[in-house]
């Protein structure tokens, strides 16, 4: 007898995008920054990243097995989490740290909440926050100087990354000299290119910008979050007395990594257009608040995590307008 016909609901054709492809495209967008980081800080970067990714994959598989779920490590989402976590670690951290960080990210932030699509905070950032709370010294001290450069991006000042210098300039010399040198064109150029100390993947604003624009153009990243984030951040950095200029703030620390790659994480950001603006602006405001008044020199990861928590609320309050829905009661059409 003949085979039965397939009966399924319409539509009968589907678009080309799928989750695995999307994950891989994000990974591809991160590769330039990664390669540059290996060049800047050496093979240690490679080792940390590999550990982070492998532990992510193993934890994902083991957790899925234990929880009786389908094992989906081939979808590359765990690879991306591992990669992003590594990007958020200083290149000099002990090698067990990426392992613990990605284990926490996958086990607690992702799988225990239901796996892909159900986590309410960004797993990689949760991993970073966990490490930050547990071993703050490793997370804030283990910087490596880039090839042919200094931690600060300034000749002769080697003690700290630009943002740390900005936070506590008095610890490293004459504050007014340090601040003025931070604002020099030469320093900002080094910061933009990434020849400074910093987390593995965050230093090169240039390469992250290229990767991020690529994702916006192909439609994986929504520009609203990025523009909302960077826009509100710039505006506040401009009007508030922050010692350094706006460009310095934009390019330094993990802002570009956060704005293009972490805040825009599909699962943990709002799904409405208006909500995405609110989310991005919220991230920007919080980042400035933490950088200016917080205890940390950097505020990107905590601001995104905080906004992640607001995502369900934002979605609920910013429903899209349904076609034909009357906003206000205007005089009915005759």
């Amino acid at each position: 007898m003949k085979e039965l016909l397939t009966v399924s609901a319409s539509p009968h054709i589907r678009g080309k995008m799928n989750i695995t492809l999307a994950m891989r495209l994000v990974i591809i967008a991160l590769v330039p920054a990664f390669i540059f980081s290996v060049y800047l800080y050496g093979v240690r970067v490679l080792i940390i990243t590999i550990i982070s990714i492998v532990v992510s994959l193993v934890c994902e598989a083991v957790m899925q097995k234990m929880l009786g779920r389908k094992i989906t490590i081939a979808d590359s989402s765990a690879v991306l989490t591992g990669l992003l976590l590594a990007f958020n670690l200083p290149p000099g951290v002990p090698l067990w740290m990426p392992a613990i960080g990605s284990a926490f990210a996958i086990i607690f932030a992702k799988q225990l909440f239901g796996g892909l699509g159900y986590n309410f905070i960004n797993p990689a950032l949760a991993g970073r926050a966990f490490l930050m709370a547990s071993w703050p010294t490793f997370m804030t001290r283990e910087w490596l100087a880039p090839v042919g450069g200094t931690l600060s991006g300034i000749d002769g000042i080697t003690g700290a990354t630009p943002l740390t210098l900005l936070k506590n300039p008095a610890n490293y010399g004459d504050p007014s000299v340090i601040i003025s040198r931070l604002n020099e064109m030469e320093t900002i150029k080094n910061i933009f290119i990434g020849k400074i100390g910093g987390c593995i993947g965050e230093t090169s604003a240039l390469l992250l910008l290229i990767g991020g624009l690529f994702l916006i153009i192909i439609g994986i990243v929504d520009y609203r979050i990025v523009v909302g984030y960077l826009g509100s951040f710039s505006l506040l950095a401009l009007v508030l007395p922050t010692k350094a200029n706006v460009v310095f703030h934009l390019f330094s620390g993990g802002l570009f990594l956060g704005a293009f790659f972490m805040a825009t994480d599909w699962v943990t950001s709002p799904i409405t257009n208006k909500g995405r603006w609110i989310f991005g602006i919220g991230c920007g405001v919080l980042t400035v608040v933490i950088r200016m008044w917080g205890g940390y020199p950097e505020g990107v990861s905590y601001s995104i995590l905080l906004m992640n928590v607001f995502t369900p609320l934002i979605d609920r309050l910013t429903r899209e307008r349904i076609f034909g829905e009357q906003r206000k009661r205007k005089g009915a059409k005759k």
């Binding site: 016909l5 397939t6 319409s10 678009g15 599909w266 349904i322 034909g324 829905e325 059409k333």
Partner: protein, 430 residues
């Protein structure tokens, strides 16, 4: 510059049959004509087993206002009135007629040269008696659509030649080959409605059709090729920037939209008194040997049409009535063509249809032409929170399929939303 509508997708057009002139499929040995081919009450059978019928013999009488009569599409003998496969309803009461070789028409069907002198009421009667329904797919009785209540005056009649569904070219061919019939039919509608504005909308991937129709002296407007441009509410928005209110109809904003095929059928009814007994269907897909546009008698089993097109290439895996975005997958190749069937798509392979979890990418939200949040509604439906689904507008869904098309997790969003709709209706009836 024309305004568009928000949302929508650009699936591959695959309109390979646009150069295939309409061919006439000979009447099949046997037709199975369902008594329900339209939205509304099924027609009441007028014939019995062993009755002889001719082409155009009325075999079902309209039963109520939202209903139309059904006519025989062949000359022959009624061999049964029984439940049979139905492309939309699964199965329904059908009149099965075995055709004789004679091509005899019902005797009272006569040409009317002076159809232009017919009054509004006469025209409405003719359209109803000819069993004309919307041929775009929804099959809503045309005479009902043409008689809006007096408090809803119609200023604009839109003729829908968008054919935004991928792969289908039946309307395109009809516009190329019978532009006069279509525009004549449109003018009859205009007269019935008393509207002063006639807009003929064609997607800009059919410029040749637009040119030909323009020569008939009507106001042809090109609209962007974007799915679902041909959906009534989206088309009205794009052409007139009017938004049909939620739960409302085009007449609420002074519009009536009619498909080109419907216009042609109405013209044939007025001019030749020909009831709706055949229609143009696009037959295409990887599973059929020769893709064609064919004129098929209503009630012809799909397999007869497929065989006319050279038969299957490989054993079929999926047979769709309609287009790939909104068409209905059939469970048997014997299902008959009905008035609303615009295409037959045969596929010899089907893609993997497994679902991944929603990753909240919001693709569905961005492409929904109705401004809905399909993934949220999907979650409510899955958790049986139907009142929430209703609050989020599940009843506004037009089932166009953009959300599921765009979904990277391949979630069958339309399936869940349709289910949600039916549950909301069921619960509200209680």
């Amino acid at each position: 510059m024309l305004r568009g509508f928000s949302g929508g997708v650009h699936p591959p057009e695959d309109k390979t049959t646009e150069t295939c002139a309409i061919e006439i499929v000979p009447p099949p040995k046997r037709v199975c004509i369902p008594f329900s081919q339209h939205t509304g009450k099924p027609a009441r059978p007028l014939v019995q087993k062993d009755d002889l019928v001719r082409i155009g013999t009325k075999i079902g009488e309209s039963d109520g206002f939202i209903s139309v009569p059904i006519h025989s599409s062949v000359a022959g003998k009624v061999i049964a009135i029984e439940q049979y496969a139905h492309p939309v309803l699964g199965s329904a009461e059908c009149c099965i007629i075995e055709s004789t070789d004679s091509d005899e028409w019902e005797t009272n069907i006569m040409e009317n040269q002076n159809y232009e002198q017919l009054t509004r009421e006469e025209l409405l009667g003719i359209i109803k008696e000819a069993g004309i329904v919307g041929l775009g797919g929804a099959a809503f009785p045309t005479h009902v659509k043409l008689t809006p209540p007096p408090e809803k005056p119609i200023d604009t009649l839109i003729i829908n030649g968008c054919e935004c569904e991928p792969m289908l070219t039946a309307d395109h061919r009809l516009m190329l080959e019978y532009p006069t019939g279509i525009t004549e039919g449109a003018k009859l509608f205009l007269k019935i409605l008393g509207a002063h504005n006639l807009i003929f909308a064609v997607e800009d991937n059919k410029k040749n059709a637009a040119e030909i129709v323009k020569q008939e002296g009507v106001d042809v407007r090109l609209v962007k090729t974007k799915y679902p441009q041909g959906a009534e509410k989206q088309l009205i928005k794009a052409l007139l920037n009017r938004e049909v209110p939620r739960g409302g109809l085009p007449m609420d904003v002074g519009c009536v939209v009619q498909n080109v095929g419907t216009c042609y059928a109405a013209f044939q009814a007025a001019r030749y008194q020909k009831p709706l007994i055949d229609r143009v269907v696009t037959v295409t897909g990887t599973g059929v040997k020769e893709s064609k546009n064919v004129l098929v008698r209503i009630g012809t089993p799909a397999i007869d049409v497929i065989n006319y097109c050279g038969g299957y290439t490989n054993p079929p895996k999926k047979i769709i009535f309609g287009g790939p975005m909104m068409g209905i997958a059939q469970y048997t190749e014997y299902v008959p063509i009905i008035k609303g069937t615009s295409g037959i798509i045969v596929w010899s392979e089907v893609p993997d249809e497994s679902e991944d979890p929603c990753v909240r990418c919001a693709s569905c939200v961005n492409v929904c032409p109705m401004g809905l949040m399909p993934t949220e509604i999907y979650a409510f439906v899955r958790n049986k929170k139907f009142s929430k689904a209703k609050e989020y507008g599940v009843l506004d869904c037009i089932e166009c399929g953009c959300c599921a098309y765009a979904c990277p997790a391949k979630i069958r969003l339309v399936h869940y939303l349709k289910y949600g709709k039916s549950e909301v209706w069921r619960l509200s009836k209680k």
